[in-house]
């Protein structure tokens, strides 16, 4: 019998664990649907806020030796407009059996709650609450995901405003990510996406003699983030019994399996679309199946969290 890639994510059945991560491709219904057709088990939209935002000026997204660095600055058309995009996407995603994850953010707990209410109409399978973007600190101060109390406050507000599944997006930059996750769990989270980008980091161009990103600093993603992400997922899932979408530097079937072994229920893929586009989803599926066959793994459930032992 050939191994199965199907997973359960907070009661949702995904045909495979691969999830298009927020902010990659997901500004339009058409690109979300395209990622779904290409083999994503679920797709996440770009984070939206109540008010539209133009984001930071370019340069905002750059490839470097270890992956990507970005300070898009949460450009989005606003949650009301985003609802229309999500509704359009959802229509095409339902027949494909691919789940829709809607990402929101805000500047205060109430702001988050309002964004949640605005996108609720699109009935996404999961609402992802981005409390961990490192690229808007000059505007909003430190991300809520760095502090257990702040994370709990946002979770509580969204929980009160929204009836569906709420996933909190955690930061790899928290000094104690388990405490943050525990506070959010206590406040009503149904699961987590772990993790958002690392840092922030800075690139300097030595001929220009200045930071490259217009925002000076940006979040680090891709391969450089992977070991940090694995530790975060390992620690959070070992401590807390909620499902996690393990995200950060997944660019191979091997890395996806590592995420599951660390305890993830599903696996986010973002920076790996660089170069390869949505072909990454079928490649990762193939590579995962090859590994499972070789290692005698019939289902991902069998190995989920196996790295906790020992």
């Amino acid at each position: 019998m050939s191994p199965s890639l199907a997973v359960d994510l907070a009661g949702l059945r995904l045909a495979n664990p691969l999830v298009l991560a927020s902010g990659i491709w997901g500004c339009a219904a058409e690109t979300l649907v395209r990622a779904a057709r290409a083999g994503a088990g679920a797709v996440t939209s770009k984070s939206c806020s109540v008010a539209p935002r133009t984001g930071h000026p370019n340069p905002t997204v750059l490839p470097w030796a270890g992956g990507l660095i970005n300070a898009v600055g949460l450009a989005n058309p606003g949650a009301a407009e985003e609802r229309l995009i999500l509704q359009e996407a959802h229509k095409s995603l339902i027949p494909l059996g691919v789940s829709l994850i809607a990402s929101i953010f805000g500047s205060t707990p109430d702001d988050y709650a309002e964004a949640a209410e605005l996108v609720a109409g699109a009935q996404p399978e999961i609402l992802e609450v981005n409390i961990s973007c490192p690229n808007v600190a000059s505007e909003f101060g430190l991300p809520f995901a760095l502090e257990p109390d702040a994370a709990a406050a946002v979770t509580r507000a969204v929980r009160a405003a929204y009836a569906g599944r709420v996933f909190i997006k955690l930061s790899p930059n928290a000094v104690n990510i388990v405490e943050v996750a525990a506070a959010a769990a206590e406040a009503g989270a149904d699961g987590f996406t772990a993790v958002n980008t690392l840092g922030p980091g800075m690139l300097i161009d030595i001929t220009a003699r200045r930071p490259i990103l217009s925002n000076r600093v940006g979040g680090v993603s891709g391969a450089a983030l992977r070991p940090i992400a694995l530790r975060c997922i390992h620690d959070v899932t070992r401590a807390i019994g909620l499902p996690v979408i393990g995200t950060g530097g997944v660019d191979s079937g091997e890395a996806a399996i590592q995420m599951i072994m660390a305890g993830a229920s599903a696996v986010g893929v973002g920076s790996a679309l660089l170069g390869e586009g949505d072909a990454v989803f079928s490649r990762l599926q193939r590579e995962m199946l090859t590994i499972m066959q070789h290692e005698g793994i019939a289902s991902l459930e069998e190995i989920r969290g196996c790295a906790h032992a020992g």
Partner: protein, 245 residues
């Protein structure tokens, strides 16, 4: 591991383009397919996509319409420019009879195609349109083979638009190559007839990453930076004809 994100080049020559901007010849090389682009950064200003008008030496034609393009078009010989790329997919190898249609700065993306086709012995018939004479770009380019200019106000060349002027050439060509304002491309899509040769167009969108990650350049489900910027007209007809939302 070097990041090597940008290559820095210096302007060796600056050719004014009427009131529009300038063509900049730089002191570096970036081997590319015709139709590929680079992201050009001026520190402290902005970073935007620009077609490679030539790759050896790198040459850019800039229409001064905003902060970066005004700064670029005003650069003196010796000034520095930061580039990353080339990115995207260019034109497929052309046939023997190319019909080249350009509006505004879009014409820049067809220059290298024409130059190479001409060097291979192909015939190139080029139509460039603009609102007025002052806004014509690259009319001096030596590789257009035969060139017809059009202006909306009739101040130079044929009075009218490029599609009207070139109407009779559609049967002659074995490939149509177009770039320009989206209404022009939409008009092309609307008038497309089944007996035309293949039509290739070059799309422009606001870009952030230029490398297929951020999604900001999407046109329907296509990413202009990674799937294009060159598309077969059929691929994007639906998007060109759809009402903007």
């Amino acid at each position: 591991m070097l990041d090597n994100i940008y290559q820095v080049m210096r302007v060796t020559e600056r050719i004014p383009e009427g009131k529009c901007g300038a063509t900049l010849v730089l002191d570096g090389e970036l081997p590319c397919q015709a139709g590929q682009f680079v992201m050009v950064w001026l520190p402290g200003v902005e970073e935007r996509p620009f077609t490679l008008v030539n790759d050896t030496p790198v040459t850019l034609t800039v229409a001064a319409i905003g902060p970066l393009t005004r700064a670029l078009a005003g650069l003196e010989v010796g000034a520095r420019v930061w580039l990353r790329g080339p990115y995207g997919h260019g034109f497929p190898p052309p046939g023997r009879r190319l019909l080249v249609l350009g509006g505004g700065s879009g014409i820049a993306s067809l220059a290298l195609l024409a130059r190479r086709a001409l060097a291979e012995g192909a015939e190139v018939r080029t139509y460039i349109g603009a609102r007025t004479t002052d806004l014509l770009m690259l009319p001096w380019y030596p590789h257009w083979s035969t060139l017809t200019l059009t202006t909306d106000d009739g101040s130079q060349g044929i009075h009218g638009n490029v599609l009207q002027a070139a109407a009779e050439q559609f049967a002659w060509a074995d490939g149509i190559y177009a770039c320009g304002p989206e209404p022009m491309l939409a008009a092309l899509a609307r008038s497309r007839r089944s007996d035309w040769p293949p039509c290739w167009i070059n799309l422009e969108r606001v870009m952030r990453c230029g490398i297929g990650v951020c999604g900001s350049c999407h046109c329907g489900s296509h990413l202009v930076c990674a799937d294009g910027p060159v598309f077969n007209l059929e691929q994007v007809t639906a998007e060109l004809l759809a009402p903007p939302h």
